[in-house]
């Protein structure tokens, strides 16, 4: 793949990421996130990681659409933040901490020379699949427990 193609898609994905964090309406941010994941899937496909690309499209976009259907489409939650955006000292400090961390990380990346190829990773696909399965098996019941607790407490309040 040519670097120009990589960076064209890369710049588009960065614009989508900026849209996610800067759009005022959360619904639009979710749409931008779906676009970002699609662009990243194209990048992964072009980087010869087709399995990751397909999984990104199917699994991650499915998860985002789940968030959309639970929180956005039903219009149950007041998703936006009313009033003008307020900046306080904590947020400004956080911004500069992120900026400093970014400069350090970029410096580390630029200092790193092109790596020497070495033997393949110790993590096999079976290990990765098992780890993912365990993670999802834990996440499912945790999600169910949180939702059940929220519903039961609301029913208790109504009674």
């Amino acid at each position: 793949m040519q670097p120009i193609l990589f960076w064209t898609i890369g710049v588009l994905s960065l614009l989508a990421a900026l849209a996610v964090v800067s759009l005022p309406r959360p619904q639009h941010a979710v749409v931008a996130l779906v676009i970002l994941m699609g662009l990243d899937a194209v990048e992964l496909f072009l980087l010869q990681a087709p399995l990751l690309a397909v999984e990104t499209i199917v699994v991650a976009s499915g998860a985002v659409l789940l968030v959309w259907s639970v929180l956005v489409r039903r219009r149950r939650a007041r998703l936006g933040v009313p009033g003008r955006r307020r900046y306080n000292v904590t947020k400004l400090l956080s911004f500069f901490v992120v900026l400093a961390l970014g400069l350090v990380l970029v410096d580390v990346v630029l200092q790193a020379a092109e790596p020497q190829p070495r033997a393949g990773s110790d993590v096999t696909m079976v290990t990765g699949a098992l780890l993912s399965l365990v993670l999802l098996l834990i996440a499912g019941p945790v999600t169910w427990w949180i939702l059940r607790r929220a519903r039961s407490s609301e029913e208790g309040e109504q009674a």
Partner: protein
């Protein structure tokens, strides 16, 4: 072939943009989306790592994808729970550990 440092830079940029959203925004859904942007950047970093090692397993990336799904699931459930308790998903309103 794209040099690994290019992929690293792109992943790093996504990671930092997501981190900015995480610390600057107040709407819960946008904070959750920013976390997912960060994890997307991490997946690109893993992809660069795969290119560095010459491995073809992609196993690390699969684990990161599972983390993305778990974060989206649990995050959405927590936001739903927040909304049930306080009728808002603005994170500044949720400043107590108990009801």
């Amino acid at each position: 072939m794209i040099p690994a440092s290019h992929v690293l830079l792109l992943g790093l940029a996504q990671l930092l943009i997501g981190l900015l959203g995480l610390v600057l925004r107040r709407a819960g859904l946008v904070v959750l989306a920013s976390g997912l942007v960060m994890l997307d950047g991490v997946m690109l970093l893993f992809c660069a790592g795969i290119a560095r090692t010459g491995s073809t397993s992609q196993a690390e990336g699969v684990v990161v994808l599972a983390v993305i799904v778990a974060v989206a699931l649990v995050g959405a459930a927590v936001l739903y729970s927040f909304h049930r308790f306080r009728r808002t998903v603005v994170l500044d309103e949720h400043d107590r550990l108990s009801n």
